[in-house]
Amino acid sequence: MATQDMAVAEPFLSMQGINKSFGNIPALIGASLEVREGEVMALIGQNGAGKSTMIKVLNGFSRKDAGTITVNGAPWAATSPEMAQRGGISTIFQEINLIPFRSVTENIYLGREIKTRFGLLDLKAMQAGARALLAEFDIDVDVRRPLGEFSTAIQQMVAIARAVSFEARLVIMDEPTSSLDDTEVGVLFETIRRLKAKRVAVVFVSHKLDELYAVCDRVTVMRDGRTVAVSTMAEMTKLQLVATMLGRDLAEVRRAGATAFTEGSRAIGEELLSVRDLGVGRRVRDASLSVRRGEIVGLAGLLGAGRTETARAIFGADPHEKGSIRFQGKETDFAAPADAIQAGIGFCSEDRKHEGIIPGMSVRENLTLALLPALSRAGIVDEGRQREIVLRFIKEIGIKCSSPEQKIRELSGGNQQKVLLARWLCMNPKLLILDEPTRGIDVGAKAEIQRLIRKLADDGLGVLMISSEIEEIVEGSDRVFVLRDGKMTAEFDGEAITEPAVMDAMAHAHGEVA
């Protein structure tokens, strides 16, 4: 237990001159991070800036090549997340966190189970403990049920509860809010404030700037493996933050605007897609929308509103139980994505890693994956044409890779996304469904992708874009549909698309359905 009279100047955590390379590629170059007791430190930077590596070095997942880490003034040498946890540093990772098959209780107590005198598990005590812990976060669930039965948000809160319950002195949260809705984010922030009150330090990684201002005291900005700025939140404007992250001139950023979407040419053509009263499982109950040639249609809604499910059903990836889908005036019911692709639809999943890229294959093969049948004669791939197309798209949309033969897994998130976009663009599709096209992509690449989407629409493509970023929806869309609890609740057009209006439609009557 830390004592109150500890010198304030002495940071709880101090990382200095950290170097780390993977192969020949340096990920961290003399990076530093200091966090004081009871302080919420924002850690930001573009993808590849070194945030994740920094966290992994700290919690023992990776080994540093050089540098010093002290915790409470003593040298810190965790060699595994387990050791870090016991030493008082808990991490909540972005993606894989918990074990869906196992109960909520188990997920909370794994690794430090309560035992009876005989060394056996004390199930009752653990269940009671789990219930009490979750009650602190205003969560009331049957802790004996497998975690996988609950929503992503609940799962995330369980992960946070688990970390917090470890008597942690420092909690690292890697994009904890990416799958939470507004109310849940509120609960999380409340929790963070409670942690602060207990003098627990928090490192908060997020791409959402508003959140940083809402909850963080100070900010550490990283770029290209270096720590480039440390400041209190109050002393930095959003624009300064972005500029520091990008390493660019302030004026330049101001010109770019919040997103790279510009006004469309508004040369909107006839209706491409029309969905009526769609029903998919429990998530989508009554969704209707339409997309016309040459426009970007935004599909907004809170997490779990049924956006992705609607998109997947249109694409034939999942079957729908009710409703009708008309594409180019014809009633359709795609049994598999292959049929939708045949008809001229492309779909970029929100989960690039698991549903987008084939990691072990080259850029060339990933790019032409869907095009292969068209690229071949009698089943034999025409490699000359394949290479020609690949090179054209690499150049046209600026994919940064060492060669078309580079493995796609070695590319940054933004460039992977460009390859996936090119996978559809080379098919000359009529409709492109983009699910979170810029999620987890650094600011620079994000702007490029946004510009590209706009250009495609201006060239006559219909785009259905799902995004959790409200400014992306508002600035990027020609029309917006809002889903709430699986039902289409609002449609906005042109000037009517404003942040307050869309947010109101998304959030309105929230909590009505449990």
């Binding site: 387990e82 946890q85 918990l98 098959f101 188990e106 794994l110 035992k115 598990l121 199930l123």
Partner: protein, 341 residues
């Protein structure tokens, strides 16, 4: 928690009861003392191997080496049997643990897929067994009480009255209880211990956690490598025990026995409803699965014995495969409907 996946095991239990009921109705002597004890004695080896396999599969792994490890253990135990029961037993177990340790090391430290690692150990164990035994079965000693491990029971200790004419039902129960073969006691004990370990110890929970998500478990700070290492050692130990029983039951170390045991064990585990991808499973259901497949075998033997529609021995494998087919289809339907719900 056990209630939850009991539903998968429940089907297996129902099938087991149906088969027993069918056997009792159709064949004389199916429910005889002799038959029951024979079934138990013989299947205890498979039950032990199945238990180890169950733990391995719950971590998301697989152990193909169990059969040849059992064969190796039987050879070692037979060689040591002249020195007595304990040396024979310990020698056999040590051989099993050694093989399990190698498996555990290759898988958890060298990070080689369990499938391929245990395939290699399978070949190696079988090679060592053949080398040690000079490719012949190794007679076990009858001079020591080693054979009790395979053939013995506690019938000697039965009070006289239960063997009498008027022992009645209660007497018969005691008689069967004491006549319970020692290998069956060993298996029973192993299952009780296994169930306790799985459900009531941290290690047991870690086994399921690792199977449910290895990366997540590692990030949660669980000793994943140690857990994985230990399940293979455990599987080796149990295969070693099965090998000792094999030597004691057949009076000889059998270097070429054990072929196909691994697949039989996998089938038992699957029939019991344990998820092959790991993370979900039940020890009790595995025992049910083993007995189900074992009794199916007995039923076929009885059917042959009746000479009614002479089923050649070859039909057995066809029927077993067919049985596995039905179970697999049912399981796939079941898991899909629960996943959809």
């Amino acid at each position: 928690m056990p209630r939850l996946h009991a539903s998968a095991g429940f089907g297996a239990l129902l099938a087991l009861l149906l088969i027993i009921g069918f056997g009792a109705w159709r064949y004389d002597g199916f429910i005889s003392e002799y038959n029951i004890l024979t079934v138990l004695r013989y299947n205890s080896m498979f039950a032990l191997v199945g238990l180890g396999m169950c733990f391995v599969i719950m971590t998301g792994g697989i152990d193909l080496s169990v059969g040849s490890v059992a064969a190796l253990s039987s050879v070692v135990a037979a060689y040591l049997s002249p020195y007595g029961l304990i040396p024979g037993l310990l020698g056999g177990l040590a051989a099993g643990v050694a093989a399990g340790t190698i498996n555990g090391f290759i898988i958890s430290k060298m990070k080689i897929l369990p499938f391929i690692a245990t395939l290699a150990t399978m070949l190696a164990a079988s090679g060592v067994a053949l080398l040690l035994s000079n490719q012949q079965s190794v007679p076990a000693s009858y001079d020591t009480n080693f054979m009790a491990l395979g053939q013995g029971d506690f019938a000697l200790y039965a009070p006289d009255w239960v063997n009498g004419e008027d022992a009645g039902f209660f007497g018969a129960v005691i008689r069967i209880f004491l006549g319970f073969p020692i290998p069956a006691w060993i298996a029973l004990f192993a299952y009780l211990l296994g169930s306790l370990i799985l459900n009531r110890t941290a290690f047991g929970r870690h086994v399921l956690a690792v199977g449910g998500g290895e990366e997540a478990s590692r990030l949660m700070g669980l000793p994943t490598d140690r857990t994985i290492f230990l399940v293979y050692v455990m599987s080796g130990l149990l295969a070693g025990m099965a090998g000792v029983i094999l030597a004691a039951q057949f009076g000889a170390g059998q270097p070429i026995e054990g072929i196909g045991w691994e697949l039989f064990a996998i089938a038992s585990v699957v029939v019991g409803g344990t998820l092959l991808t790991g993370g979900k499973g039940s020890v009790g259901a595995t025992l049910v699965g083993t007995l189900l497949l074992g009794i199916l075998f007995t039923v076929l033997n009885f059917e042959n014995g009746m000479g009614w529609i002479s089923l050649s021995a070859y039909w057995q494998s066809v029927l077993r495969g067919g049985f596995l087919f039905v179970v697999v289809i049912l399981q796939s339907r079941l898991t899909r409907s629960t996943a959809a719900a």
